[in-house]
Symmetry: C2
Subunit: 264 residues, 2 copies
């Protein structure tokens, strides 16, 4: 007799793991990790967060490296459906927030289609985490009344970004990205009208002890980042607000010293 | 002898309280609330979250109602500086995330200027909270590669929103707002090129047991919201992704029933 035949009802929680620091996970996410029977997680979820998982839970790694997709999205969807139908209490743990560049929508669709109950538990998205760790206000009543979050990853066949709409004054733009496209990305932004002197910051491994951050301008940041040999998952923040990062004081705050070491 | 004269070093933590549900606060925010000597909080922070504050802490309410500002921003800044200089361990608790429409930037500037150490602790922003509670994916690889967060509050003398940049296809727009401007806001979006048939959802008291949500279109939502007499702080989500909200299954998930009752 399977669990579901016995009447036990499975459920899949799509849970945001936050920006990296295990203390930046929500109370609800921590509770669900303790209670889960199965945790399905990917590459952006760090070891400190995995320690919150209960000792008896099954752990399934479905990490997606760009060049080496361990499991395709369709297989992940099928896995979640299968475990939910089996009557299990599943946590699908995703870096940041599940519905902001997390492809949570596709997992929801698959679960709904299969009739598997689910619930989404939001998380601190990387933009908020990296901004906090560098004291960059993402909005500012004089400088940025709009905050635009964009994926910097582009694949063949996907629609081009709307560069004209992106390249407007009075807003902050945050790109969720790797490093590969940085020089091309900055060139396109300048080409479409943003000033080369506009402040820009790249934050790598934001909120983790390994965080590194570089502040420069749109025209210079790609070269600065290359010189500093940053390589991890990164966020690019572009806009006047980047000039407001108060690094001396962030550094002075207890426990935050590592946050600002390289931000200059 | 004051605390600061004795060598004790004050610190001000700007802490995001998340979207409303007390379980959606971060582990770090919960710890800092337990340890704080003073907690300065405003209207968007609910009673469940205030219960996390340690019993001996002083609580200072600086709630800002639109019509009745109890304390102006400059006074809040001065209060934080004063308590920090006095050597106290202060938590400045703000709804959502401190650096996304939280005016945290202004508080950081004041603290930095006065030489008071500070640290920013990010929170789950209202957009992520409301999206999770209604299962609306904010980004979608086919429908929305860009997510735009905008404040719907406008004051005399503040710059107009860039309507042309906002009214682009292929993105999701989230307005942090009250209800007052809803009809005018939707009219401007249609006027600047968004289709009247574009799906839109208004979420009131998102993630709280009192959550109510209305799904309609840009052309009809203001009337629907008026008919439903919604009145609390609300978020407006506009874009193709709103059509993906899977309400039946959200409702089926344990504990999430209230989330979708009125979303239709």
């Amino acid at each position: 007799m399977t669990a579901s035949a016995s009447g036990a009802k499975g459920i899949v929680y799509l849970v945001g793991a936050g920006p990296g620091d295990p203390e930046l996970i929500t109370l609800k996410a921590a509770r669900l990790l303790r209670e889960a029977e199965v945790v399905v997680y990917d590459r952006l979820v760090g070891p400190g967060i995995l320690e919150l998982i209960g000792p008896s839970a099954e752990r399934i790694y479905v990490g997606k490296e760009r060049a080496n997709h361990i499991m395709r999205q369709a297989e992940i969807n099928a896995l979640l459906v299968r475990r939910g139908l089996r009557g299990q209490r599943v946590v699908r743990l995703k870096g940041g927030d599940p519905l902001i560049f997390g492809r949570g929508g596709e997992e929801i669709e698959a679960l709904a289609e299969a009739g598997v109950p689910f619930e989404v538990v939001p998380g601190v998205t990387a933009a908020a985490g990296c901004a906090a760790a560098t004291a960059i206000p993402l909005t500012h009543r004089d400088h940025a009344r709009t905050l635009v979050l964009v994926t910097g990853h582009t694949k063949d066949g996907e629609p081009e970004l709307n560069w004209q709409a992106l390249c407007q004054p009075g807003q902050t733009i945050v790109f969720y990205m790797g490093h590969k496209a940085l020089d091309r990305l900055c060139a396109r932004l300048i080409e479409h009208g943003l000033p080369g002197a506009l402040p820009a910051a790249l934050v790598e491994n934001g909120t983790l002890p390994s965080q590194r951050a570089i502040r420069a301008t749109l025209a210079t940041i790609a070269a600065e980042v290359e010189r500093a040999t940053l390589q991890g998952p990164a966020l690019l923040i572009v806009g006047e607000v980047v000039a407001f990062a108060d690094l001396a004081h962030v550094a002075a705050a207890a426990g935050a010293l590592h946050h600002a070491q390289e931000l200059r």
